[in-house]
């Protein structure tokens, strides 16, 4: 009986098993532009995602960034104040905007 159990566990085991212990996801320091409003960006956005997530959206309109922040507040329930909303939208449009209001 012991032998059968051993064979069964061998058959079901993977060829290569998972890493032992825990993994560590590296931290990447993204080169994000400094400027007016950056403190609000850092305080609000970084709670949920890296700057990479912002940089890799492509250059976008003022309306896009405004709506993106709306989505973070309404859908993802991020506690961003109205004041910060305005500051962040202006910062994003200035540094990662496409020059179009909408």
């Amino acid at each position: 009986m012991k032998k059968i159990i051993l064979i069964a566990s061998l058959l079901t085991g993977s060829l290569f098993a998972q890493v032992k212990g825990d993994i560590e996801v590296p931290y990447i320091s993204y080169q994000i532009k400094m400027g007016k409003g950056f403190d609000s960006v850092q305080a609000n956005c970084l709670m949920c995602h890296s700057f990479g997530y912002i940089l890799n959206q492509g250059p976008q309109s003022k309306l896009f960034w405004d709506k993106k922040i709306d989505k973070m507040v309404e859908e993802f329930k991020a506690p961003i104040t109205k004041e910060d909303h305005k500051i962040i939208a202006e910062y994003l449009f200035k540094h990662y905007g496409n020059g179009k209001l909408k």
């Binding site: 069964a8 079901t12 993977s14 060829l15 290569f16 098993a17 998972q18 890493v19 212990g21 825990d22 993994i23 560590e24 996801v25 590296p26 931290y27 990447i28 709670m47 949920c48 995602h49 890296s50 990479g52 997530y53 940089l55 890799n56 959206q57 492509g58 250059p59 976008q60 896009f64 993106k68 859908e75 993802f76 329930k77 991020a78 506690p79 990662y96 496409n98």
Partner: protein, 400 residues
């Protein structure tokens, strides 16, 4: 360098970072961004990949991975939605819960999955619905993926239908929700739950614990992941820990707002006239990508080059792949290798002897058994989410 030249250079450089190019004509879909290089930082169990974000991790496979029918686990793309991913899972404690409108609630450990159910395998392509999003103009919101938010692996696990049968469905059961272990930073943020109709789930849907003969990598969903062959990956829930059966559809952000396209024939719209009625992206359309050669490579005159790539669709299977070397005026059949079934990559191979010097462009176009064929990029209409790009792939080399 004159100041004006310097400004010009820096604008071009920043355009490359942002994933757009100023030479593109307005509102025309084009080739996805192929200029990104793998980073110099490796994530756990991964080789260095094209890296968009560390939290949540967003990693893209390089073009070279499309020269093979199976994508290696350590080169497989990674896409999570929420920032907090468990970095350790104790298999002695982990279990998947099956509840809701079932006759008997279940808690099944990974060991029980491996021992108490029939073990099945399926080779299937997993592709993000937003793969190749960088092809669209104006730039839709979302990660500006090149072509590498996709891969193909051999998945091993147990049938979802066997698990549901063990639990027993109650009368009126209609929807099934899947939830994984990724967590948001805020308690109120909606979980990344996916809901599918029971009628959508056939015997090919499995709960997998193994990928290409190894445990799933953490970043690809260790220890369990839902596999829905033929579907875009938004519903292939990773670190799957809960399956809930219901009679009614629950309104969910990730179902109602994300991963949807216009519900019309072309699935297209314009930024000024967004279509009101949308539908989930579900089945993948026909697509092929060249894995070798790569853009910018140099090839010797009169040498034989073997073009390699992969083609797939939502499960009807690839009938033909064509290659063009004259900008799509004429097309030649490529050889196909169909080894892993209709949900897997079909490999294609095309030998060519360049007899002219200078730029040489290869195009690849797949046709599935329904007769659906890939359109030229410029003929693909825009949609706000930048989903489902499947344009004819182009690679330009230089013959020297």
């Amino acid at each position: 360098m004159k100041r004006r030249d310097f400004l010009k250079t820096s604008i071009v450089a920043s355009a490359a970072v942002m994933g757009t190019s100023s030479v593109l004509s307005a509102n025309e879909t084009h080739q996805p961004n192929d200029r990104r290089k793998v980073s110099n930082m490796a994530f756990p169990e991964k080789r260095p990949l094209i890296t968009y974000s560390d939290r949540p991790p967003l990693l893209e496979s390089p073009r070279s991975t499309f020269a093979r029918g199976i994508t290696e686990n350590d080169e497989f793309f990674v896409r999570w939605h929420l920032p907090d991913i468990p970095t350790h899972i104790d298999l002695d404690k982990f279990s998947i819960k099956i509840n809701g409108m079932v006759k008997k609630e279940l808690e099944v450990t990974v060991a029980e999955l491996k021992n108490d159910f029939e073990q099945v395998e399926v080779t299937a392509v997993v592709q993000c619905g937003g793969n190749s999003r960088s092809a669209f103009t104006p730039t839709p919101g979302g990660v500006q993926w090149g072509s590498g938010a996709m891969g193909c692996a051999k998945w091993k696990g147990v049938r979802l239908s066997d698990l549901l049968e063990r639990a027993g469905l109650q009368k009126g059961a209609h929807w099934i929700g899947f939830n994984g272990e990724e967590k948001a930073a805020y308690y109120k943020t909606p979980n990344f739950v996916r809901e599918l109709e029971l009628s959508e789930l056939d015997d090919h849907v499995i709960v997998a614990y193994e990928m290409n003969g190894e445990d799933l990598p953490y970043l690809n969903g260790f220890p369990l992941r839902l596999i829905i062959p033929g579907y875009y990956s938004d519903s292939w829930v990773k670190m799957l820990s809960n399956i809930t059966v219901t009679d009614k559809y629950k309104s969910l952000f990730f179902m109602d707002k994300a991963y949807r396209v216009p519900d019309n024939e072309t699935e297209g719209e314009t930024p000024d006239h967004l279509v009101k009625k949308t539908k989930p992206i579900t089945h993948m359309n026909v697509k092929s990508v060249i894995g070798y050669p790569e853009n910018g490579m140099k090839i010797y005159h009169n040498s034989h080059i073997v073009v390699r790539g992969v083609a797939f669709d939502g499960g009807h299977g690839i009938d033909k792949v064509y290659v063009s070397v004259d900008g799509g005026k004429s097309w030649d059949r490529a050889e196909l290798k169909r080894e892993n079934g209709r949900y897997a990559y079909t490999e294609f191979r095309y030998t060519y002897k360049p007899t002219k010097y200078g730029k040489l462009q290869f195009m690849a176009k797949a046709v599935n058994y329904l007769g659906d064929e890939q359109p030229f990029a410029k003929d693909i209409p825009w949609n706000r989410g930048g989903y489902k790009y499947n344009g004819i792939d182009e690679v330009t080399v230089e013959v020297i």
